[in-house]
Structure formats: structure tokens, C-alpha cells
Amino acid sequence: MAEKKKPAPKIAATKRKAPVRKTKPQVIAPDPVSPIGDAAMPRAASGNAGITLSERLPGSFVQVQAWPDTVAKTQAAIDKHAGEGVTTMPVGPGRWQIESDAPGLEEALRKALKPEVAAVTGLTHARVVITASGPKVDWVLASGIALDFAMMDEGAVALTSHHGIPITLHRLPDQGEARTYDLYVTSSYARDFWDWLIRAGEEVGLAVA
């Protein structure tokens, strides 16, 4: 069937052109809409910001699952796609979550990894990334997440949850003196999680970049 030959879910990005159409003039896909919505409008803290938040939608976000005997092969394929703007996070035995600033990573990896080697699952729409930084970021996050943040090294990844909301947490290089994390939160919970961050951050002063 025709279905088989087509790449499955496509990533729609601002500049991406739609495939050949039959009846209508070319239509540009609209920008993706953040599930957090207007709540993520920039704002300043009333005093010094103990925590600063910003959000982004990933260009691509893909989960790769290797089989027990194909881990090394899969790792090698993933390594080929590493580079500027690509974050690879190991999240389990033979399992990675990979974010790329550019669209198209799912198709590229699916091409590189046949089903016999690994499963490639597109999650680009399923995650919102919240970057949290500031002198009090550990304090705010620890008020909802049972992780020993002091023991997280730069680059460390944790699969955790806040109040039942699944979160993948990635420690980035410090911004200046301030600890910084990327929080990958599932899209349908993003608004609720963001609202919690705003409430929890009030105590130490919160800004949205």
C-alpha cells in the first residue's frame, strides 16, 4: 500500500514546505503552538530572580530503543548524528532520548536504524522543554522533585516525576554562577507543571525569559 512508502509523522516546522498537493495552492504549515500558551509570556521578577524560566519546543525529539544485541550498533548510528544542536540523553538500557534543534531527526534515524536494529519513536510534539536557571533553582525544583540535585554532575540525566507528571531532567553547563537544567515535560501536562513552577518560584523571585 502507498502508506508503507511514506515517512510517517512528519515534523512541521515554520519553514518546512508541504509535499506536492493536488488541489490547492501551497499552504505553509502554521507554527506549532506551545501547550503552555500565554502563561509563558516573559516577565521580570519583582526583586532579584532566584529562578529564571524559559520554554522551547524541540525541533526534533526522538526516542531510540535498541534490542539487547544491537546496543553498540545503535550507539554508533546515534553518534553519527551527534553534533552542534543535538543533545543525546541515555535514559535506560539501550535507550536514548535525542533532541535536535533541526527538524527531520526522526526520519533520519529511522533511515539509519532498521527495525531489526532499533525502534525509533518520534516525540517531537510530545515534549516541551523548560530551561530553569538561577541561584535558587535547586531549591525550587527540590520543593517538588525528590532528587538529590547537589549530586547531579553537569550532563547528568534523570528520569523523574513531579506530582505524577513524568519529567526528564538534564543538567546543563552553569550559566555564569547559576545552575541550569533542561526539564523535558510531556505536552499535556506542560501547563500544569509550568503553573506549579511559577507558584513554587514565587518564594525566591521568578522571571520568565
Binding site: 500500500m1 502507498a2 502508506e3 508503507k4 510517517a8 509523522p9 512528519k10 515534523i11 512541521a12 508541504a18 509535499p19 506536492v20 498537493r21 493536488k22 488541489t23 501551497q26 499552504v27 505553509i28 504549515a29 502554521p30 503552538v33 506551545s34 500558551g37 526516542q63 530503543q65 534490542w67 539487547p68 527495525p115 531489526e116 525502534a119 519513536t121 518520534g122 516525540l123 510534539h125 510530545a126 531549591w139 527540590a142 520543593s143 517538588g144 525528590a146 532528587l147 538529590d148 547537589a150 549530586m151 506530582h163 505524577g164 507528571i165 510531556t186 505536552s187 499535556s188 501536562y189 501547563r191 500544569d192 507558584r199 513554587a200 518560584g201 514565587e202 518564594e203 525566591v204 523571585g205
Partner: protein, 1008 residues
């Protein structure tokens, strides 16, 4: 109002701010002044206020009894409105400008309480009064005896503590998660020594203290540490610790509970000492601390002695009286008499005298004391009465004097009370009980120490994996030198638990007393009159003996019969004394009678602090990308699983029923759209994906072609229906499984369990993609026409997209998947797109549907359509039904193996009288209520229930109320007439049993 404030100077008022700023507060509406650093209790005492409360049962006047969290008597209600908090210990709350406190359990006023008549009948209200008076066989038609039901209201009004507010609490409560190597509980000498030692080894240390000022007893001792007063040394030591990166000091923080795995719960009172929390600040913060090891240095609680009239306002513990004088600079009384059975009472007298308090008598039950203690007594210039005891007290709302008689500590015999000593404060010390509440929570068995006349914490339970080490008075190591030594020793052990080195010793030189804390084994002076053991619950020594006589001899029975040790203080000042009196009555040794054990929490804990941010909506809410649109359109939303979903889009003045009927009609006549983004979606991939799915579903999936979807049934291991949904084959080795909204999480667990545990050899990846896809169902005879307008790159004709077909397409430049599925029974499609494009697709479908008057519909209409069609959903998959019960036997393969097959073949599942799916239709126009039972008889004699309704609605198609139902042997009873009875709602509706497929039974519409 009299001024009981002492002249503040170096060693007097060590906790009081020296800035001379006064703080105004009210108690029972009257304004008083206090000083920064005062507790409510110390500030009231400074104003000469002795009467602070009325007792629980007898409404006897009560004053402050302790200076800490163990306070049984001086409980007040704090603040007003939504911030009102009953039963707050006045000894713990720090005063602030504008504090409002009122006394409890009195009418009309604290000084004149009409209910005080309760104490006059004397022994009538003794232990067991309620059981004896009101218990008995239930009166017919009543829950208890008629006499109890008559009296209950009066009794509940007469007895009790404060009243909880009914308004919502406006404040926030926060949580915090913390991790450390060594948790130190208590910041007295032992705790400070432990924290310093552990910190010096580089350990991550958390030091908690329940008081506002850390330092424990060091804040008021007479000894010199390193040549400095205790409070100065402690303050410097704490500052040094606070400056270390590896140390966190939490004051106003009570470690309430010790759990397994080194987990502790501590409650920090962040803003209880303020008029209201600062913006963004929580009132309290619940700390969940995980520690590799802990040093428990929680000190000891002083015990009272039991004698007649020992509850008058003005009678308090000796160390409390000393602390009011030394730490708060407040006279506990204008003339203080001390009554003790140990040395610490004498030292309290000396310290009070040094602070400027008049001590007019020291009464000790012992025959003699050491020279050093005698010298301390002489320094007070008080009259010394050895071999004596207080045999009674005078006064009503305040103490005015005590009777003194000779006392033989060996026989317990009391001589004639031939002396009366005027005083307005009696400071009592009956020895010390180590505060091992936390370690007891982990199951360690306390050990009796005959020398100290106290239980010690004993060894950790072998069943506990929480590492702790006791130090200081908590471990029976009384005295400063022992506290410092044992604190460091405990820290070294804790460091070893955490895999760290020993650190460095750092103890100050100590100049001062080394008192003997061992008391004479005297707990009670028997001289007649009400002598209270438990001040909070008005339990007397006679009550304990009465319990013994009536056979309630075990400590557990004693507690429940007399209520000794219950309520907010959990017997902190009464448990040991009660046990001792029981032991004496039974002529047994104390440890043979029983022991004291404790449960969390250490002190009363606000529910708000435990709930943290989990209030309002108790669980996080998932939102579809169209949720904002639904809300903007005024849709009423209600929870469905973790999601909020629109019930219906009510037009102006339209009821929910009118709205869903309109929406359902629109779907049947033209086209409607509904947000189905909430359906669970699971990506299943791998070389063994087909095999896996084929084993999970009861119907065949092995030959599903790529580009097609199939409806599947999932069974539990026991053959009962578990969930249903469609699964789409996207590629040879890739599927998209959909589940019910509420079942998504459980299905995911079910799949992961079978992959990981049952069939680990299958190479299958299972990933939730619920949040990757937004979904819109387009249903109705015009649905194909609508899609033809807006979908590109996809032929939606019957040939291009047959029933159950799945195709890729484009709408407004957005890639979509279009599947031809129907839940409503009409021709219908589901359109899936990336989650962040959900609203754009919704808008595009609305725009394309304008010529067809497309109607958005909610869950009520969705439900109505599927009920009419006889499609099952959650209410029918109720955890008891099998596929055959629901008429889906044809979907159970007899060829392949699948989860639930074997147990699904149990003979009982094939019996003909099982509850089976039918529809019922109202015959008389009456509404069929949810929860109705199907009966044969009329309203008067309905007979037994033969089934029940599961999903009810008004059917616009049939123009009558209908319901799906489960009926015994229902599949063979179509055409039968029954009643749908709902006695609770008073309905009894004549109905006819029909096939559940009420609309388009041959499926022509959806296949057309």
C-alpha cells in the same frame, strides 16, 4: 495587669531581644504587650496572666505547665477567619504584632466557666463514665442507646478542645526534598557536638531544632562553655556551622517522623511567627529528608509529680519555671516554691533566684542531698524541707499556696500536713524521661533504667534499615559533659554509616555543675483529692487505679479506658507516671507492666502541611491542545481520567440535556467534531511487534494489513475484559495502539509487564505517544464531504479510504493521519496531527465544515451516540464482564493463544444466567436514572434485582430515554418488559428489553 518581667541583663532573658521594642497582641480580646523573643506563654506570664485554659472534661482552670512542645494544658486558638487554628500550644507560638489568641473550651468566659460544675460530681465523671452510662443494646431503629442519642449533643459541646475553622485556609503549604549524610535532630549540647563533628569530616549535615532559637538547653544554662555563657557559646558555634557549605540549619523545624530507608518527615513553621506569610512564602514547609544516618539528640522531657491539686494554674514543671526566668526574663510567680525528687529541681531554684525570682521553699522527698546541692539550695535563701512532700494546693483560678507534710520515700507514706506555704508558683520536678519518640517509631524496644527511673531508647530494631544513634539526654547521657561526649561519639558512628572519616573532636571546656539526674523513685503523693496524671485529658491517679480494679491492666487497655496519653500531647508528660502508678497498684516493676511506644508524628501536624501543593485539584490535569478553545466556548468540563473534557457546548439558556440532544442530532443528520486527543496512544515497534500485539488482544491481529486499523479487545489474565481500542498498522513492524482515555496508564503498565516479565525474549519497544498526537473525530453523514474539502494528498472516497483504513494526508500544510473509524455508528473518521498543531486542525475542520453546519460535540453527545449504537465503554467494562457478556464472543479467537484465554474458558463464564448486555427503552416517557436496577415487580413489590443500568441517555434517534444494561441472561430476553427501579431517586420506570444495537444494527451507515 501586673508586671512579672524581670530586669533583663546578661544572664536573664537570653532569648529576649534587647531592643526594647514592645509587641502588641490580644488574648481573649484584651491587649497585652510582650517582647520580641517571647512565646505567647511567656508573654502572658510576663503580664501576670496565669489562667490560660479550661480542662477537657472537668473544665478546671489551667495555666501553663511546660515551656515547650510537650505542653498539655495551655492550648489556645490562634488567629481568626480562614487562618484560625485551634489547639496551638502557647508555649511554642512566638508572639508577633497583631497576634490574636483566644482560650478554648469555656463558656461564657475563661475566668467564669459555667461548665466548671462538671468537677463537682467528683467521681461520677471518672474513667469509664461514658461507657457505663451510655453503652447498651441499641434501641430499635437507632444507632445507639436512646439515652446516648439524647445526651450526645450536650456532651460533645461540653467536652473538647478548640474548634476547627470551616473556611478554606488562604495560605500555601510547601514541600521540600533534602538529602544528607548525617541528620542531627536537636541542637542542644549533644546535637551541636554531633553536628560539629560530622561537619568537620566533610559530611553533608542537616541540623533541625523545633525551637526558634537553636541551642537546646544551652540557651539557659548557668555553666560556662569555653569561658562563655552557654547561650553565647551556642550562638557562636551555630554561626560557625551555618557558614559551612555542607551544613543546613533548620530552626522552627520539628522532625515528626522517622521512616524506613533513612527517611524523615520534618515540618518547618516558616511563617507561623508572622501575622501572615510574605508573598510567595508558605505558612509551613514539609521536609522529606533522606539521611544516610542520623544522630537523635532530642533531649528529655521533665515529668511532673502527682499530688492533690497538682493542676492549679501556677503549678508547672521546674525546668519550665527556670526557663521562663532565665531565658525569657519572666517571673513564673512572685513567690516560687520548688517541689522535687531529684537534684535538677534544686538547680532550677538556684538559677531562678540568681535571675531575681523569690524562691521561698524547696521541698524534696529525699532524706538527704549532696553538699553541692544543699549549697545551691542555700544560695536561694529558701526554706528547705527534706523528707517532705506537697500534699495539697490552695487557690481557684490561681495557686495561692501549698500544704507540706512529711514523706517517707521508702514507704510512700505521707505524714500530717502541718505546714502551709504561700506561693503563686509551684515548680515541680519528678525526674526526666528521654524523648526517644522518633526511634520508637522505627520499632526499637525501650529499656528501663532503674537508676534513672526512665526508659532509654534501646537498640535499633533489626527490622529497620534506618541508621540512627542516640546522644545526650535522649540516650540517658545526662549532664553537659556526657552530652558533648556522646554527641561526638554518635557522630563518629553516623559518619561510618555514611562511609566517611571520623572528623575532629572539638569540645569546649565546661565549668559548672555535674548534677545527678537520678530521681528518687517517687511518682505520686497520695493524700486524697483530685491528683492529675494526664492534665490534657483530665485523667487522675484514681482513674488509673479504677481501670486496674475493673480489669484494664495492660497499658494499652489503660490508655483506651482512661484516655491517658491520648490527644494532642500524646502523654508526653503523663505516660511514665501513669505506668508507674499502674505498676505500684499491681505491685509490679514498671517495665513488667509495659512500655511506651510512639507513632508519628511527634507533635500535631497540620493536614495542610502534609498535603503541600496537592489541594484544590488533587492531581495534575492533562490538557488537550484544544482545551483553551473548549473553555473559551463555555463548555462545562469535567474530569475523565487525568484529563478535563467538555461535557457539552451549551448555547445561551440551554440545559446540558438540551445541548447534548442538539449535538447528537447534528451528528446523525450532518456532521460533528469532537476532541479525542485524550485517547491513550501507544507506539509499538520491533521485529516482534505483531506477535506481541497478537498475544495481547483476544482477537486476531497477525494478518492485519499495513494501512488498516482493527478494533481489539484486551483481557486480564483471569479472562475478564480489561480495555478496548483500535490498533493501526503503520508499517510492517510499527503499530499505533489506541486505548480508552481512563485506561491508558493501566494498559501501558499491562503491556510493559508482559514485555518485561512474561515475554522478555520478544524485541518490542513500547512508548506512550498520547502527547505526540492530537485527535479529532469527524462523525456524521457529511463527514466525508467535510474532509474532502480540506484534506490533501489523501483520497477519502470509499475506495481510497475504506472502512477501518488509515492514510496519511495534509490539512492546512500540516501532516495528518486519517483513519476511518466510527464510535458513533455514523460514517466517521479520526484525524490525528502533531499535538502542537491540534488547535490549527480543529480550526481547519470547523472552517471546512461551515457549509455543513458542523457542530462541535462533547462527551455527553459522544456517549449518547455510542449508547444508541450499542458500543461498549468504561461503564460496561466494569471489571466483571467477559467478551461474551457484552456480545463480543466473536472477538475471542479459538485458534491463537492470548492473555486471558485459559481462564476465560472457565465454565462459569459460559453460564446462561450471567449478566449480559442489553438495551432497555422507557415505555412511558419517564427518564431512566443511572444506577437503576431491573426488576419484574411494580413499585410496591419490586422483587429482586435481575440486572442494572450502565449507561443512560435520552435517545434523539428513538425519541425516548434508553439505557444500556446488564441483565441476567439478557441476550435471550429481548422483548421482555421490566421496570428500571431507582428507589433512592424514587423512580420506577416501565421498560422494554431490546438489542443493544438500537441504531443501524447492520452497520450500513458507517460502512457506507
Amino acid at each position: 495587669m501586673s508586671n512579672h518581667r524581670l530586669t533583663l541583663r546578661d544572664h536573664v532573658g537570653t532569648l529576649i531581644d534587647t531592643s526594647h521594642v514592645t509587641i502588641n497582641f490580644t488574648f481573649d480580646g484584651k491587649t497585652y504587650q510582650g517582647r520580641k523573643g517571647d512565646t505567647l506563654a511567656s508573654a502572658l506570664l510576663a503580664n501576670g496572666v496565669k489562667l490560660m485554659a479550661r480542662s477537657f472534661k472537668y473544665h478546671r482552670p489551667r495555666g501553663v505547665f511546660t515551656a515547650g512542645s510537650e505542653e498539655p494544658s495551655a492550648l489556645v486558638t490562634l488567629r481568626s477567619g480562614g487562618r484560625r487554628e485551634p489547639n496551638v500550644r502557647s508555649t511554642e507560638i512566638e508572639i508577633y504584632e497583631g497576634l490574636e489568641a483566644i482560650s478554648q473550651n469555656r463558656f461564657p468566659s475563661l475566668a467564669f466557666d459555667a461548665m466548671a460544675v462538671n468537677q463537682l460530681p467528683g467521681k461520677a465523671f471518672a474513667a469509664g463514665f461514658y461507657y457505663k452510662t451510655f453503652m447498651g443494646p441499641k434501641a430499635p431503629g437507632h444507632a445507639a442507646t436512646k439515652f446516648w442519642e439524647f445526651c450526645e449533643g450536650f456532651i460533645r459541646r461540653a467536652a473538647g478542645l478548640g474548634k476547627a475553622p470551616l473556611e478554606a485556609d488562604p495560605d500555601d503549604y510547601a514541600r521540600m526534598h533534602a538529602f544528607c549524610d548525617v541528620l542531627v535532630v536537636g541542637s542542644g549540647a549533644a546535637g551541636l557536638a554531633a553536628a560539629r563533628r560530622a561537619a568537620s569530616a566533610g559530611a553533608r549535615v542537616i541540623l533541625c531544632d523545633e525551637r526558634a532559637t537553636a541551642g537546646g538547653s544551652l540557651t539557659g544554662i548557668a555553666d560556662l562553655l569555653g569561658g562563655e555563657p552557654g547561650h553565647v557559646w551556642a550562638s557562636d558555634a551555630l554561626a560557625e556551622l551555618a557558614a559551612m557549605d555542607n551544613v543546613t540549619i533548620l530552626t522552627r523545624t520539628t522532625v515528626q517522623s522517622m521512616f524506613d530507608d533513612g527517611t524523615y518527615l520534618a515540618i518547618e513553621r516558616v511563617a507561623d511567627h508572622k501575622l501572615r506569610p510574605a508573598p510567595g512564602e508558605p505558612r509551613q514547609r514539609a521536609w522529606q529528608i533522606v539521611a544516610k544516618s542520623a544522630v537523635i539528640a532530642t533531649g528529655a522531657l521533665e515529668r511532673p509529680m502527682v499530688f492533690a491539686g497538682n493542676d492549679r494554674p501556677g503549678v508547672m514543671l521546674a525546668d519550665a519555671a527556670r526557663r521562663y526566668a532565665v531565658e525569657f526574663g519572666v517571673m513564673p510567680g512572685r513567690a516560687v516554691t520548688v517541689f522535687t525528687n531529684n537534684d535538677t529541681g534544686w538547680l532550677a531554684a538556684r538559677d531562678m533566684a540568681r535571675a531575681g525570682v523569690i524562691v521561698n521553699g524547696i521541698i524534696d522527698v529525699r532524706e538527704d542531698v549532696s553538699d553541692a546541692i544543699r549549697a545551691a539550695g542555700e544560695e536561694t535563701r529558701a526554706a528547705i524541707h527534706l523528707h517532705s512532700a506537697v500534699t495539697g494546693t490552695h487557690g481557684w483560678n490561681a495557686l495561692t499556696g501549698v500544704n507540706i507534710g512529711s514523706f517517707d520515700e521508702r514507704t510512700g507514706e505521707v505524714g500530717p500536713s502541718n505546714r502551709r506555704l504561700p506561693c503563686d508558683c509551684l515548680a515541680v520536678s519528678g525526674g526526666w524521661s528521654p524523648a526517644f519518640h522518633l526511634t520508637s517509631q522505627q520499632g526499637g524496644k525501650p529499656l528501663w533504667d532503674a537508676e534513672l527511673q526512665a526508659f532509654l531508647p534501646g537498640e535499633p530494631s533489626e527490622h529497620s534499615n534506618t541508621h540512627w544513634h542516640g546522644a545526650g539526654a535522649m540516650a540517658g547521657q545526662f549532664g553537659l559533659r556526657a552530652a558533648f561526649r556522646s554527641g561526638e561519639e554518635a557522630a563518629v558512628k553516623a559518619l561510618a554509616d555514611a562511609g566517611l572519616g571520623e572528623g575532629e573532636t572539638n569540645r569546649p571546656d565546661i565549668e559548672g555543675d555535674e548534677p545527678d539526674h537520678a530521681p528518687a523513685p517517687v511518682f505520686e503523693i497520695r493524700s486524697g483529692g483530685k491528683a492529675f496524671v494526664d492534665l490534657q485529658h483530665d485523667v487522675t491517679a484514681d482513674d488509673v487505679r479504677l481501670a486496674e480494679r475493673e480489669g484494664f491492666r495492660s497499658v494499652e487497655h489503660l490508655k483506651r479506658y482512661t484516655t491517658l496519653g491520648m490527644a494532642t500531647d500524646q502523654g508526653k508528660t503523663s505516660n511514665i507516671t501513669g505506668l508507674a502508678i499502674m505498676a505500684q497498684t499491681r505491685d509490679m516493676a514498671i517495665p513488667d507492666v509495659g512500655t511506651t511506644r510512639f507513632r508519628p508524628p511527634y507533635t500535631p501536624t497540620a493536614i495542610g502541611a502534609v498535603a503541600g501543593e496537592a489541594y484544590g485539584h488533587l492531581v495534575p490535569v492533562r490538557r488537550t491542545p484544544m482545551q483553551d478553545w473548549h473553555e473559551a466556548k463555555g463548555a462545562r468540563c469535567f474530569p475523565n481520567g487525568p484529563w478535563m473534557r467538555p461535557e457539552s457546548y451549551n448555547a445561551q439558556g440551554e440545559s446540558v440535556e438540551q445541548a447534548y440532544i442538539r449535538e447528537a442530532k447534528a451528528v446523525r443528520s450532518s456532521v460533528g467534531i469532537v476532541d479525542v486527543s485524550t485517547l491513550g496512544k501507544i507506539d509499538i515497534q520491533g521485529p516482534d511487534a505483531t506477535e506481541f500485539i497478537n498475544r495481547i488482544y483476544s482477537n486476531a491481529f497477525a494478518k492485519l494489513p499495513v494501512g488498516k486499523a482493527r478494533y481489539g479487545l484486551m483481557l486480564r489474565e483471569d479472562g475478564i475484559l480489561f480495555d478496548d481500542g483500535t490498533t493501526w498498522r503503520l508499517d510492517d513492524h510499527r503499530y499505533l495502539m489506541t486505548t480508552t482515555t481512563a485506561g491508558a496508564g493501566l494498559v501501558m503498565e499491562h503491556l510493559e509487564y508482559h514485555r518485561d516479565v512474561v515475554w522478555p525474549d520478544l524485541n518490542v519497544a513500547i512508548t506512550s505517544v498520547t502527547d505526540e498526537w492530537a485527535g479529532v473525530a469527524v462523525a456524521g453523514p457529511k463527514s466525508r464531504d467535510l474532509l474532502a474539502v480540506c484534506v490533501e494528498d489523501c483520497d477519502v472516497s470509499d475506495a481510497g479510504l475504506p472502512f477501518m483504513g488509515v492514510r496519511d494526508g495534509i490539512i492546512s500544510g500540516i501532516p495528518v493521519k486519517v483513519a476511518r473509524l466510527s464510535f458513533s455508528g455514523e460514517m466517521a473518521f479520526e484525524v490525528y496531527c502533531g499535538f502542537t498543531h491540534g488547535q490549527a486542525i480543529w480550526d481547519a475542520l470547523l472552517e471546512a465544515g461551515e457549509p455543513f453546519s458542523v457542530t462541535p460535540y462533547g462527551l455527553e453527545a459522544l456517549g449518547t451516540l455510542r449508547i444508541e449504537k450499542g458500543h461498549v465503554a468504561g461503564p460496561e467494562l466494569d471489571g466483571r464482564t467477559t467478551p461474551a457478556d457484552l456480545g463480543l464472543a466473536g472477538m475471542v479467537s479459538d485458534k491463537k493463544n492470548f492473555v486471558g484465554k485459559v481462564l476465560g474458558q472457565r465454565p462459569a463464564f459460559a453460564e446462561s444466567d450471567r449478566l449480559q448486555l442489553v438495551a432497555i427503552q422507557s415505555l412511558d416517557g419517564q427518564r431512566i436514572r443511572g444506577g437503576s436496577h431491573l426488576v419484574k415487580g411494580g413499585r410496591d413489590e419490586p422483587g429482586r434485582s435481575e440486572g442494572h443500568t450502565t449507561s443512560t441517555c435520552f435517545s434523539p434517534e428513538l425519541n425516548r430515554y434508553v439505557s444500556l444494561a446488564l441483565l441476567e441472561g439478557g441476550q435471550a430476553r429481548h422483548g421482555e418488559r421490566l421496570y428500571a427501579a431507582n428507589p433512592i431517586r424514587g423512580t420506577h420506570v416501565a421498560v422494554e428489553v431490546t438489542s443493544p444495537h438500537m441504531v443501524d444494527p447492520d452497520g450500513g451507515r458507517m460502512r457506507g
